[in-house]
């Protein structure tokens, strides 16, 4: 399968199901950004999108998390090729 073409940042809610994104930036409420980082979903974390556009179901560091649309809109990711294992938090 050809590697996806390098594209600019896109919100997590627009990442297709099954794709992996690396968090580039988190915007919005400071407290929420802080919590995302504390839960290991900060900048450089790898997120696998499982399903959803309104409410996103994702896998981060082996944990399943649900993010609502507002939250997923504020997480900007860069799509990366699906690695053999996507469990590691940081590259």
């Amino acid at each position: 399968m050809p590697a996806p073409s390098p594209i600019a940042r896109l919100p997590l809610c627009q990442l297709p199901a099954g794709a992996v994104g690396r968090v580039q930036a988190i915007t919005g409420d400071e407290g929420f950004c802080q919590r995302l980082r504390e839960m290991g979903c900060g900048e450089a974390a790898l997120i696998t999108k499982i399903s959803g556009t309104t409410t996103s179901l994702c896998q981060v560091n082996g944990t399943r998390i649900a993010l609502n649309h507002s939250a997923a809109m504020n997480i900007l990711v860069e799509r990366v090729p699906v690695p053999p294992r996507t469990e590691s938090r940081r590259a």
């Binding site: 919005g28 409420d29 400071e30 407290g31 929420f32 950004c33 802080q34 919590r35 995302l36 980082r37 504390e38 839960m39 290991g40 979903c41 900060g42 900048e43 499982i50 399903s51 959803g52 309104t54 409410t55 179901l57 560091n61 082996g62 944990t63 399943r64 998390i65 649900a66 993010l67 609502n68 649309h69 507002s70 939250a71 504020n74 294992r85 469990e87 590691s88 938090r89 940081r90």
Partner: protein, 711 residues
């Protein structure tokens, strides 16, 4: 060895065991198995209360050391970080930092860690180690880590952190003896783990630490932990009972934040990142990532169905149907049993005591009042059995995920679903469950609409009115069930409608951001679910034995005094009583709804609790049977007439009464808990006004439009 400048020397070791039972605090991330471990350690020796001023539950239990010495264990609410985002997490933070005057700072801390997700769980442990208290780390779910092909080395973790690390499988009781042995140690080492605070932030940490020692009477180690926390906490969540910071410390903190903001520096992000760097180094030594599990896990396969856009809704619908059918069918037998025994008790008291006020007070006041509420215990137990089951299997988070899309339409998020679901049993546990909602406005909106969900106390009113409205011999059961569902639907629809309205008017805010962990599916712990049910049953019975008993006695007094002349019938007595006078006074307000003063007495008395309406109607209309059996009461209601001879309980009035009870705020206990949760009288009064106002308007519309249409 010379310690780095920012590390204070540890306190001298205590050689002797403390005279009182040492206090352990249990902390950990949500879903790490903390409650299971608490139950395993303390068994039935638990006390559930509340932290004063907040509706966060305070669970304290007694465990025993290997030598039989009692140990006090406080189960703190689950938290991802000490930088609190919800009242639950704020309580955990405040207890650990010694900020609460109602709870002494724990002597020792048990950190429960999910071995399958060590890195994220170590974030909280890392913050706790900064507190300078003796810590024991419990590596829970070692079996699941092994199943996932991961190798976790407790000895290496103990070496890295410098504290005892106990591998454990709380569900199976494995590792508990080793844990008790560690808890029995007279002296526990303080952590040797040191991490580098980023250079740009270190001077701020030192200055705030010095101020906390000088102005807030903190010990140096706690002060350092708190200064690190204050820089990431943003002090966003303050709860009642938490000691505020001194003006000087607040000023220093604000000064640094202002300076960093001007320099465009992300100090909070830098601190989190440096912690994760330190944790990453530890995790690399301690965990060997799994080789198994390349394909989807069993949890993934279940999720593919239960979080599916179509199958997910079907599953949720089936689960909800199962819960409701169980509540309404399985509960019938124990409810009848309780009802029979309460009636038998009242008869026994009547037979054993001489007639008089004292006997009437006991039978008509205490036994019938408390009995009328205790009868709902089976329904509440069944609901909490299912809620416990859904939570312990991990499905509850999926239900919230599925509901998020619907909730977002009205401006809430999926986390409001669990409180609203609990409110079908009783609004009180529903309101208590809102403590996990992070956004204060979302929490308040959920609290304001939760009592609109039809609770089990409305059920007897619906049953009585349906019985009066639709005689059993002429109307099929499906029509009755249909009307019942209509009432539940109206309540639910109103809850969503008002949430939508409040989020657009009174409590406007940016759309809330929700992040929620979906734990892996697990087999439910029978003991945990059982304890959860027992705990709820106890809280419910305690309320019945205190608040409702008191109100029942007051209501009895109001309906028994002043005494009517000798020979008067019970309904004449009631008419002239204080309650009767109140009913007459209320009649002009409720007459447009088709209700007379006798129904007015029911409305007033059921302001204490909705189900009291049924027993009051029994007294008012002089029905001979006890209030549990609606058939004789139905006949009595059908005979009731206005002074001009018109029938009182016409189908339209019965329907109007049901509509009134769907919307009206008729529950003193709910008002009291909303007052406690919101810390003011403003919101419970507003809630009572909007709910009862809506109830009045809709009952008026039903009656007047119905009459206009010739019903």
């Amino acid at each position: 060895m010379q310690l780095p400048a920012h590390i204070n020397p540890p306190a001298p070791k205590r050689n002797a065991a403390p005279a009182r039972a040492p206090v352990y605090a249990l902390v950990g991330n949500p879903n790490c198995g903390k409650s299971t471990l608490f139950n395993a350690l303390t068994g039935l020796k638990q006390k559930v209360g509340n932290y004063p001023g907040v509706t966060v539950e305070k669970k304290v239990g007694t465990a025993y050391s290997q030598h039989g010495q009692p140990l006090t264990v406080i189960d703190l609410p689950g938290a991802y970080s000490l930088a609190a985002r919800s009242p639950d997490e704020a309580v955990t933070r405040d207890v650990l930092l010694g900020r609460r005057s109602d709870t002494a700072q724990p002597d020792r801390i048990l950190c429960i860690v999910d071995a399958t997700n060590l890195e994220r769980n170590l974030y909280l442990v890392h913050q706790v180690l900064d507190l300078g208290r003796p810590v024991i780390v419990v590596l829970n779910m070692m079996d699941l880590a092994a199943e996932a092909g991961m190798a976790v080395f407790p000895d290496k973790l103990a070496q890295e952190l410098g504290v005892p690390v106990i591998p454990c499988e709380a569900v199976r009781g494995k590792g508990l003896i080793e844990l008790r042995l560690a808890m029995s140690r007279a002296d526990l080492p303080l952590s040797r783990h040191a991490w580098d605070v980023p250079g740009a932030i270190a001077p701020a940490v030192a200055e705030i630490q010095a101020s906390l020692v000088a102005h807030d009477a903190k010990s140096p180690l706690i002060a350092r932990a708190e200064s690190l926390l204050l820089l990431t906490d943003q002090d966003s969540v303050r709860v009642a009972g938490s000691t505020p910071l001194s003006a000087r410390t607040t000023e220093i903190l604000a000064g640094w934040q202002k300076r960093w903001s001007a320099e465009n520096m992300d100090w909070a992000g830098t601190l989190v990142s440096s912690r994760y760097d330190a944790i990453g180094r530890i995790a690399a030594e301690v965990v060997q990532p799994g080789t198994a599990g390349q394909g989807p896990s069993p949890s993934d396969r279940i999720d593919a169905v239960v979080t599916h856009p179509i199958w997910g809704w079907i599953t949720l619908g089936a689960v909800m149907c199962l819960i409701f059918v169980s509540i309404f069918t399985l509960a019938e037998y124990p409810m009848n049993w309780i009802d029979r025994h309460i009636a038998a008790l009242a008869d026994w008291v009547k037979g054993s005591m001489a007639p008089g006020d004292l006997r009437d007070l006991i039978t008509d006041g205490a036994i019938s009042g408390v009995g009328g509420v205790v009868i709902f215990l089976p329904q509440i137990l069944i609901l909490f059995f299912f809620i416990g089951l859904l939570e312990s299997t991990g499905y509850m988070a999926r239900a919230a995920f599925i509901m998020d899309r619907l909730m977002s339409r009205v401006g809430l998020n999926g986390k409001s679903f669990i409180p609203l679901l609990s409110s079908y049993a009783c609004a009180i546990p529903g309101i208590m469950a809102t403590r996990t909602i992070e956004d204060p406005k979302d929490r308040l909106v959920t609290i304001l609409v939760a009592p609109l969900m039809s609770c089990s106390a409305r059920l007897p009113v619906y049953l009585l009115m349906i019985a009066a409205l639709l005689p059993a011999e002429r109307v099929p059961l499906t029509t009755k069930v249909g009307i019942m569902f209509l009432m539940y639907f109206l309540g639910t629809f109103a809850a969503f409608g008002f949430a939508w309205l409040f989020k657009r008017t009174l409590l406007k805010g940016v759309p809330p951001m929700m992040i929620m962990e979906l734990p892996p599916y697990r087999m439910p712990g029978v003991k945990d679910v059982g304890l959860h049910m027992l705990e709820r049953a106890w809280i419910f019975l305690r309320r019945a034995g205190t608040v409702i008993l008191g109100i029942s006695i007051v209501l009895w007094f109001l309906s028994a005094y002043p005494k009517a002349p000798a020979g008067a019938s019970p309904s004449e007595q009631l008419s002239g009583s204080f309650a009767g006078m109140a009913g007459h006074a209320l009649e002009p307000v409720i007459k447009p709804l088709g209700f007379d003063w006798q129904i007015g007495i029911g409305l007033i008395s059921s302001f204490a609790a909705r189900e009291v309406f049924v027993s009051t109607m029994g007294v008012v209309f002089n029905a001979e049977a006890d209030d549990g059996d609606t058939a004789p009461l139905r006949s009595a209601l059908l005979k009731a007439r206005w002074p001009d001879g018109r029938m009182l309980f016409t189908p339209l009035v019965c329907f109007g009464l049901m509509i009134f009870y769907v919307f009206a705020m008729q529950c003193i206990s709910t008002i009291a808990i909303v007052k406690r949760e919101t810390n003011s009288w403003k919101w419970p009064l507003f809630q009572t006004a909007y709910m009862t106002g809506t109830a009045w308007i809709l009952a008026l519309l039903v009656y007047q439009v119905g009459r206009g249409l010739g019903f």
